[in-house]
Each structure stands twice: as C-alpha cells, then as structure tokens.
C-alpha cells in the first residue's frame, strides 16, 4: 500500500517537473531562423566557389600564370590573358569557372602565387540550367565592384 502512494507521489512529481521544463523552454527565445527573410552569416572559413580578390580600385592580383588551371583536378578552370600595348605584365582577360564540375577542393586557392583567389560566401545557388553555373569570374568581380 505504501508502494502505491509512493508511486503516485513520484509519478506526480515527475509530471510537474516535466511541465516546468517545457514552460521554461516556451518562454525562452526561439532558436530557428526564418530562412528566406533572415540568412545565416557564413563563418570566415566557409568554402564556397572561388572568386577573384579585388582591391579598392577594382584591380585583381592575377598574373595569368595558369597555376590554378594546371592544378585543378576537375579541369574546371580556364583563363586567358594578354599583354596590353606598352605594358610589361600580362593582364587577365577572362576567367571561366565551370562550377558544375568543381569539387571545392581549394587547390587553386592554395597554389595561387599572388593570393588572387578567395572562397566566396555564396550559398544560395540554385538554377534552371547547367549554363547558369559556368561563371565568368572577371565579370563577377566587376559586378561586385559596382
């Protein structure tokens, strides 16, 4: 008989404790993020697709050595460059990244001798066709400048 009352007491107490826990959770702030309206700030080491580093005047640091292109295991980088008339150094005229085959390994960023590449923070990447994911990084860097 005493076991009966003890069970009732313990059971009732555990129920009250449970209610207390859920009430505490209820008055605490919500932890979910309302995604389309709010977005997460990406951590500094987030590795998105690559982008060109641009300084304040809109110039990139690329010397068109082609290290990234040669080191890319997926063959998704192709870049072109030419010497401007009267200039000494080669300048970048086109940087094409085929993101559909990129494996985000980052060897291009590591191998760049002038640190001209960085990982972008873009993650809202969705599209209707394959062609939307063939990026012209030079054009993108000029667009970012604006």
């Amino acid at each position: 008989m005493s076991g009966y009352f003890k069970e009732l007491y313990d059971g009732g107490k555990s129920l009250v404790v449970g209610l207390g826990i859920t009430f505490k959770y209820m008055i605490q702030p919500v932890v979910t993020l309302q995604y389309p309206h709010q977005t997460v700030a990406m951590p500094p080491r987030f590795r998105g697709h690559i982008d060109l580093v641009v300084d304040e005047e809109g110039n990139n640091k690329c010397i068109v050595c082609g290290m990234c292109q040669r080191n890319c295991p997926s063959n998704c980088i192709s870049l072109t460059g030419e010497k401007p008339e009267g200039g000494k150094k080669k300048e970048l005229t086109g940087y094409r990244l085929d993101f559909t085959t990129c494996s985000l390994c980052g060897i291009c960023v590591e191998s760049c001798p002038t640190d001209a590449l960085l990982f972008s923070k873009a993650y809202n990447l969705a599209g209707y066709s394959k062609e939307e994911f063939i990026f012209d990084l030079l054009k993108r860097s000029k667009e970012r400048q604006k």
């Binding site: 702030p29 919500v30 932890v31 979910t32 309302q34």
Partner: protein, 329 residues
C-alpha cells in the same frame, strides 16, 4: 422579462453558439500551433496575417473546398452521420453553459446533468465513425475510445456528484452564483470539503481523457493507428471532427472553471461577466495544450490503470469525505 418570444431568443443563442464553436476552434488551432512552436522553440504559424492568425481560416477554406469522398465499402449513412453528430453534441452543450448572470440560452435546473448526457453522445459519434469507415484501424481506435470514455466517465461523474452535494444544485448559474469571490471558489479546501483540490485534479484529468486529448489521445495514436477513427475522413468530414474536438475541449475547461473557479464571477467581485469565464477557460485550455506538448502518449493499459486504480478510488474517497464533512459541519 425578455421582449422577444422564447423561441427566438433560444435560436439566437444557438446561432451564437454555432458561430462561437467555429471561431473558438479557429482560435484554439492557432493557439495550439503557437504553443507547440514555442515549447519546441520555434515560432509557429507566421505567414498568414499578423502572427499567422489567419492560418486557421486558410486551413478551413482548404478543408471546405475539398471534395467529400465516401469510401466504396463504407456504410454510407453512418459514415456521413458521425462527423455531424460530434459537431451537434459540441454545439448542444453550449445551451446550458452560463456566460454571464443572464447570458445563458436555457437556464435549466438540471444543466449539469444535460451536459453530461449530451457530451456522452460524442463517444457514440466516434464509435459509428470508426465502424462506418470499414477500416481496421478505425475500428480499433473506436473501441479504444469507448473503453477510455467508459473508464473516465465513472470518476468524472463521482466528482460531479461531490460538487452537486456541495453546491446543492445542478443549475450551473446557481453553482456559479455561490462562488462570489476567490475565497468562495470550490477549488479551495475550506469551502465544504478538505479534498476539493483533489476533486479539481480528478475532474481536469477526466475532462482531458474524455475529450481524447494527449496524453490520452489513444483514439488517434497516429504512430500506430494512422489517424484512428478519422483515418478515412477527408475535407469537411475531418474538419467537423476537428471542430468538434476543440468544442469539447472548450466545454470541458468551461465546466471546470464553472464548477471550481467561479465561472463568470470576478475573483475580487468587480464586474462579473462573460470575459471572466472566457479568461479562466482559455487559461485551462492553455494548460491542456501545455500538457499535450509535454508528455508522450500513454499506453492503453496505463490509461485504464490510471482510471480504475487511481482516479476511481480517489474520487470515491473524495465523495465519502465530502459527505461526512457536510453531515458533521
């Protein structure tokens, strides 16, 4: 007293009750989803209208425009009758609930008895809905709902008998009238019987079980019985079951606040009126929701054991102690 003929007054009240049951269900669905969200540290509905208040109406419109499909092997009459019956009982019990000193459709001297007589028909609706669907899960669920309702009707009615003994009346308005201020509420042990808080607890647990609310929602038990007795219902057939359930939850909580918390009376004696009944009832409804989102579903054995081994002996003890105390003092 009233310039209108009696029948017009009652019809107006019935229309009001129907509108109230619908709006109440819309509000409670929204509230339930908000409470569930915040307990799980989410926001809950937020897109339809400010704070998502229009979400229930959007859901309602969706249910209403759906085609009513009667399964080929279902009993056509019983299948159609069940949702209507659960809704009818939910509306009918509003006839005797006093929202204020004079805001009551019929001031019946056996109002309490009428509520239990009608609310008991609800379990018949679940039974014929489950049977008429011709689905094995529905039938299992219906039998569960019946055994559960039979088990919980007993302690609930014993508790109600206790309350009738203390109040000396079955007229709900008289019972509320006896509880003028907070010190005269029947939940407190100095108002007739030392075990009144226990009686309130028993009544509240039974009301939750009678309305098939979690953690006693064995009739629905989606993890084992798909959706229980309303597995085969879609569109407004399901909608009526849903409206009826929330109507019954409201009635159960309203009855608890009328019997124990002074109904439309103000705790301090100022401005008695329907707002106090609604406030107390919605507070209890919130507790019901809070309980639902805290506890897991019980087993059928645990459920029946709780009734027959705990609630029935305790309610009998409350009855005997109350009878003795009323006789002695």
């Amino acid at each position: 007293m009233s310039p209108l003929p009696e029948i017009v007054r009652v019809l107006a009240f019935v229309l009001g009750a129907m509108a109230f049951v619908g709006l109440n269900a819309a509000f409670l669905v929204w509230l339930e989803r908000k409470v569930a969200g915040h307990i799980q540290r989410r926001i809950g509905p937020k897109e339809a209208g400010p704070f998502g208040v229009l979400q229930s109406f959007a859901d309602g419109i969706k249910l209403m425009v759906k085609q009513l499909v009667v399964p080929a092997k279902a009993d056509p009459l019983l299948y159609r009758l069940a949702p209507a019956l659960t809704m009818i009982t939910a509306i009918m019990v509003f006839v005797v609930i006093p929202f204020g000193p004079s805001i009551v459709a019929v001031d019946l001297n056996i109002g309490l008895l009428l509520i239990f007589a009608i609310a008991s028909i609800n379990v018949l609706a679940l039974l014929i809905g489950g049977w008429g669907s011709n689905n094995k899960y529905s039938v299992i669920s219906a039998t569960r709902a019946v055994s559960q309702n039979v088990a919980y009707e007993v302690p609930m009615l014993i508790t109600v008998v206790t309350m009738v003994m203390i109040a000396g009346s079955m007229n709900l308005n008289t019972i509320v009238g006896n509880q003028g201020t907070i010190l005269q509420w029947y939940i407190f042990p100095w108002n007739g019987s030392i075990l009144l808080p226990v009686a309130f607890l028993i009544f509240f647990i039974c009301a939750m079980a009678e309305t098939n609310r979690a953690p006693f929602d064995l009739g629905e038990a989606e993890s084992e019985l798909v959706a229980g007795f309303h597995t085969e219902y879609g569109g407004m057939g399901f909608g009526l079951f849903f409206l009826g359930e929330y109507g019954h939850v409201f009635v159960g909580c309203a009855l608890a606040s009328i019997l124990f918390l002074g109904g439309w009376q103000c705790p301090l004696g100022w401005l008695p009126g329907p707002h106090w009944l609604l406030l107390k009832t919605y507070l209890l409804v919130f507790v019901v929701m809070w309980i639902r989102w805290t506890y897991p579903r019980t087993t059928i054995y645990g459920l029946l054991n709780l009734s027959w081994k705990v609630l029935v002996p305790f309610s009998l003890a409350v009855l005997l102690v109350t009878a003795a105390m009323l006789k002695v003092f």
